[in-house]
Symmetry: C2
Subunit: 230 residues, 2 copies
DNA sequence: TCTCCAACTTGACTATTGTCATGTAAGGGC
DNA sequence: GCCCTTACATGACAATAGTCAAGTTGGAGA
């Protein structure tokens, strides 16, 4: 991707799009642009945060290694999404690690740059709070899923979120590894395989990375039904 | 609690303590002070946020009602803790509902008050980001627990967090209903009962609301051990 | 004081998920 | 082209948690 193209994508990101126009150029000029290979570490848990990260291309996973050694995937980001806002601006250690799960292009905004802009224009704080709130919200949604839905239902919702349309038949590509999907949904790969089988009766066909949903309403109904009703 | 006592507690809250001194008085003067009975609703999911809430006394639960009707407890707050920061400052709907689970005293800071202070002094943004980050962090920790630990291990960690000391023998009171503890830990009350029984061999005795831990290190070791090792 | 209700416990059973083992198939490197 | 690794599927079994159904108990209120 050319640097010009990178800048265009960066401007479209949720974070920069909500910032006042005049500051965007300042940020873009001072940002650090980097590529990562698949599997490369972007930062590690407990490391001190020095920047906010904006994904321009590829997929990034945030995860935590628990004391037992198990990996818990917290979120997966792609083009246009940013992470690390709240951490970077407080100079505290990251609560998670970040790793590129596909080749990635990432823009890093050094936190001092953002902090000095915040002092000039408090409007920026609100943009950053907006991004942070989005993360909070998605974590809350994830908690709800884990606490109130079965594995197969979480998979159903995951598939529904991949679709562009919102009713009828739909075909989508799974965006990343099934292993990672399993992690993201809080289950083992074996359980994901079985969850897919379980979704066959409600019109889901999986072939490699390709998924076909016969009827989104039927699937949504399944995802939102009481687990004990089945 | 007298209004003077309320103000003292409010000043000790994590949110206000990190704010520059001169603004605290402004906030305290414009805040709304209210009491809630056990079971009373503080706000509802989807309602538009108009204030930041600081708990002065009692316990508050934040929860989500999933499409299936199941309740997922997101967090439980008490004296000195605040919630709703990121939401209030963006005038978006709450992603959760809030309910007093015991008689409560709560201070509400209307969001316009906070917003206007933010414009005067961007330093305040950082304080608010700090509070928001704390919430993010606790949600991440919860996700990790749910994804990587068994029920009994989550209960063990919950008990450890209640203790003031960090080693040796310890006695604590359970701060709220076992039903709520179960919800907070993502399990059914029956499972919580059984988890308690399972903790007997590692030196945990529960009697009503009273818990005795024979040795915190032994319990911690249990909580952090690989589930498959048992 | 008595009654009643909701919280809690326990048991039996089921469902769901994890674990381990095995087999297959696809894709990268040579 | 081949090999070899890794992802993925599936079966058998174990562990864990949910469900349903009885109890028990302690406390609020009449």
């Amino acid at each position: 991707m050319s640097h010009e193209a990178q800048k265009i994508v960066a401007r479209q990101s949720l974070l920069l799009r909500s910032l006042p126009e005049q500051h965007v150029d300042t940020l873009l000029r001072q940002a650090v642009w980097r590529q990562y290979d698949r599997g490369e570490t972007i930062f590690l848990q407990e490391e001190e945060a020095k920047a906010v990260h904006v994904v321009l291309a590829g997929w990034v996973k945030l995860f935590r290694i628990s004391p037992t050694g198990a990996e818990a995937v917290v979120s997966v980001f792609t083009r246009g999404e940013s992470f690390g806002e709240a951490v970077a601006l407080r100079n505290v250690p990251y609560p998670v690690s970040a790793e590129a799960v596909s080749p990635c292009e990432i823009m890093h905004i050094p936190s001092p740059v953002l902090l000095s802009l915040m002092k000039q224009d408090p409007e920026i704080c609100v943009s950053i709070l907006a991004a942070t709130f989005t993360h909070l919200h998605s974590l809350v949604a994830q908690l709800e899923q884990l606490k109130a839905q079965t594995g197969a239902q979480r998979v159903a919702e995951f598939l529904l979120n991949l679709c562009d349309s919102d009713a009828g038949q739909c075909e989508v590509e799974l965006p990343y590894d099934k292993m990672l999907i399993a992690g993201r949904l809080g289950m083992k790969p074996e359980s994901l395989s079985r969850a897919f089988s379980r979704l066959k009766p409600v019109g889901v066909r999986i072939n490699r990375n390709h998924a076909e949903i016969a009827d989104m309403d039927v699937l949504r109904n399944y995802a939102e039904s009481d687990p004990s009703e089945k």
